[in-house]
């Protein structure tokens, strides 16, 4: 049994027109979100939120950020029409979904993660914090954070599970090359969950000198809101690009969901557009009905992890259960609270695909488009096989191609050898 202790705020009871107004002042998306952290961090979260509101509309800050996003990150990222991928689902009469890829994989460092990392580093600088910490799963957020710390001359410590360090060795090397200290976390399952706990412990200890660049739309308020807003440029560009290419809105947006940052970045701009379907794809691991998966929204129950109330994989005693996914970036038993809210309000749909389906998609996307997607991103592609046969006409689908797959080739080669 699951209960919710706190009264639903007004936003929770409103319809799909309102969700972009969340979170409320306490950081709640309906019943989700909040700040479930040790008291030591509460003043730091308040300080961070104040800085975020101060600089969000500050011309100097925005000017510097825009400049860096353009010349350092390489934005805007293209919206690419994937013709051969679309052909895969074409019907004999020539109709069929038109698939476009938002090419976040072309960003500097190879994933969407840098949008948030660079903005938070600018914020940290203005807050006078010289030391940066971060957690990482697949290593993409760790690499993005190490990159911006090198760029700004900030001290950088990255927490990473020992299991993830092994399967993402390339990214460990990249982080160290750029001067970051990568601290292995062997507690618990040695994955993203434990790396996040350890990063929070570091922050509790060094909060007065350190900024924590949390890498997903998870964690205590203001992180889910702030990380979403720093990634919202993905959806904003997509809107402009759709307008330029065909003069209208997309019909369907699709993205993989672990913590959910790339999905929120794409979705946020369109949450108020009722005609746009929002689809998040989770990792079902060996199957959502087995005990080895990371399908939090599909299979989880309401709970609190890493400072936020959301859906959570947990046992009957409320102990957090180990997640499983072949993709280190999706291997997390929690999910960002705004996704929980979008699920409960019915505004977004969430499905899951297995390791095997993602591995297949990794290969056929590579062969059809000459684009090697990250294993995380491959989950979103894999769901096309399920989604497309259910569609009528020629709807325009935008997939967030959230990261490149170079980091995953060893994992994939090993998995294919075992087949």
């Amino acid at each position: 049994m699951t209960t919710t202790p706190l009264p639903q705020n007004s936003a929770a009871s409103t319809t799909a027109n309102a969700p972009s107004a969340v979170p409320d002042a306490l950081g709640r998306f309906g019943r989700f979100g909040g700040k479930y952290v040790p008291e030591t961090l509460m003043p730091a979260l308040a300080e961070l939120e104040a800085a975020f509101w101060q600089y969000r509309n500050d011309a100097d800050f925005q000017g510097e950020l825009d400049h860096l996003l353009k010349d350092y990150v390489g934005r805007p990222s293209p919206l690419y029409c994937a013709e051969r991928l679309s052909d895969r689902y074409a019907r004999p009469d020539g109709t069929g979904p038109q698939i476009y890829l938002k090419r976040e994989d072309l960003n500097h460092t190879g994933a969407h993660k840098i949008n948030n990392a660079i903005a938070q580093a600018l914020l940290a600088k203005r807050m006078g914090k010289q030391r940066i910490i971060a957690e990482t799963g697949a290593g993409q957020h760790g690499v993005a954070t190490a990159t911006v710390c090198a760029r700004f001359g900030l001290d950088c410590v990255i927490y990473m599970g020992v299991h993830d360090m092994e399967r993402q060795a390339l990214n460990v090397f990249r982080m160290r090359l750029m001067g970051a200290e990568v601290r292995p976390v062997s507690a618990g399952t040695g994955t993203l969950k434990d790396a996040t706990s350890e990063a929070i412990r570091d922050w509790v200890t060094n909060v007065e000198t350190t900024h924590y660049i949390l890498g997903s739309v998870a964690g205590p308020h203001p992180y889910p809101m702030m990380v979403r807003d720093f990634h919202a440029i993905i959806g904003q560009e997509t809107r402009e690009q759709c307008q330029a290419i065909w003069g209208g809105l997309p019909d369907i947006l699709m993205a993989c969901v672990g913590g959910g940052s790339n999905a929120m970045g794409l979705f946020h701009e369109f949450v108020g557009e009722a005609s746009v379907r929002l689809i998040g794809v989770e990792a079902a691991g060996e199957g959502a009905d087995t005990d080895k998966h990371a399908a939090t929204l599909t299979k989880g129950e309401v709970g609190v992890l890493h400072g936020a109330m959301s859906y959570l994989l947990q046992d009957r005693d409320g102990q957090v259960i180990e997640a499983h996914s072949i993709s280190a970036g999706l291997d997390y038993p929690g999910v960002g609270p705004e996704h929980a809210y979008l699920k409960d309000t019915g505004r977004a749909e969430y499905y899951s695909v297995t390791d095997a389906q993602a591995l297949d998609a990794f290969q056929w996307v590579s062969r059809l488009e000459g684009i090697i997607p990250a294993l995380e991103t491959s989950h979103a592609f894999a769901y096309l096989d399920t989604l497309c046969p259910t569609l009528e006409g020629s709807p325009r689908i935008v997939i967030n191609c959230s990261g490149r797959g170079d980091k995953d080739v060893q994992t994939v080669a090993k998995a294919l050898d075992l087949r």
Partner: protein, 269 residues
């Protein structure tokens, strides 16, 4: 019901205060190394000078804990310890104890059971108070109100980083006592306590008459004495107890914590 007003946390503090004593609150992780040893450890600590005992429910993701208590929780969970086992143990042992039991648990197990059910279950087991390290004031109301109705005292924490207006608000809501975290950091023994803790204690005194307990990092009798000299109402000792209990056989561990507990209490008198 084994609890009565006489064994409530605040009543016990009132009695200690009238004798001018600083309380000793040792901490145990339930089920480490096993539940039978935890039961015996409760009895041993009660006989060795403990005025309250803080009993930790093992949790999979103990954010506020350092390596010692993390490891104890992991060992306990690996042995299969469940919340119901912990409550059955409290129910069995608490009638034999003079020291009220304060349960230390993270929030998710409370939420998952359901707040009302959780409170009813711990009350029936004989728990007197509750500390939830990941439930700050802003999120605590949903627990404080039903807990007050059922007679469980929920103690809130203040930290060295808490500004004065927060301290005042927390002190007003905290029940039983106020838990002053002595370090910016997680639980675990420290070689020395920061002087600013004494200043902080003095400042908290200006806004509340409630008892103040200092914890996180107290490693030995010298530090316990320091806490008493600062004028605290209680010293809370966790990792240093857990570590001693975990070393050697359960019998050796129990003997070690009995000695240690007596030494600490002597330093607090």
């Amino acid at each position: 019901m084994s609890t009565s007003t006489a064994s409530s946390v605040s009543a016990r503090f009132a009695a200690l205060r009238s004798r001018g004593e600083c309380a000793l609150i040792p901490f145990l992780t339930a089920g480490d190394p096993d539940l039978a040893t935890t039961a015996e450890a409760l009895r041993v600590l009660d006989r060795s000078g403990a005025d309250f005992i803080e009993l930790g429910v093992p949790y999979s993701d103990p954010l506020a804990d350092g390596p010692t208590i993390q490891a104890a929780a992991t060992r306990s969970l690996q042995r299969g310890t469940k919340l119901d086992d912990v409550l059955a143990l409290v129910k069995e042992v608490s009638p034999e104890l003079t020291a009220p039991i304060v349960l230390f648990t993270y929030y998710n197990p409370i939420l998952h059971r359901g707040i009302e059910t959780f409170l009813k279950d711990i009350k029936a087991a004989g728990v007197a108070g509750l500390v939830v390290p990941d439930l700050p004031l802003e999120e605590a109301e949903g627990l404080l109100v039903p807990a007050a109705a059922i007679g469980i005292e929920v103690t809130l924490l203040v930290a060295p980083t808490s500004p004065m207006e927060r301290i005042e608000a927390i002190a007003a809501q905290s029940q039983g006592f106020i838990y002053l975290v002595s370090v910016t950091g997680v639980t675990g023994v420290r070689s020395q306590l920061q002087d600013r803790v004494g200043d902080l204690l003095t400042r908290i005194r200006t806004v509340t008459d409630k008892p103040i307990g200092i914890g996180f990092g107290i490693a030995d009798a010298d530090q316990a004495r320091q806490v008493r000299q600062w004028g605290a109402d209680a010293a809370i000792v966790g990792s240093a107890i857990v570590k001693r209990l975990a070393e050697g056989t359960p019998t050796e561990g129990l003997a070690a914590i009995a000695d240690f507990c007596q030494t600490l209490k002597a330093a607090l008198k």
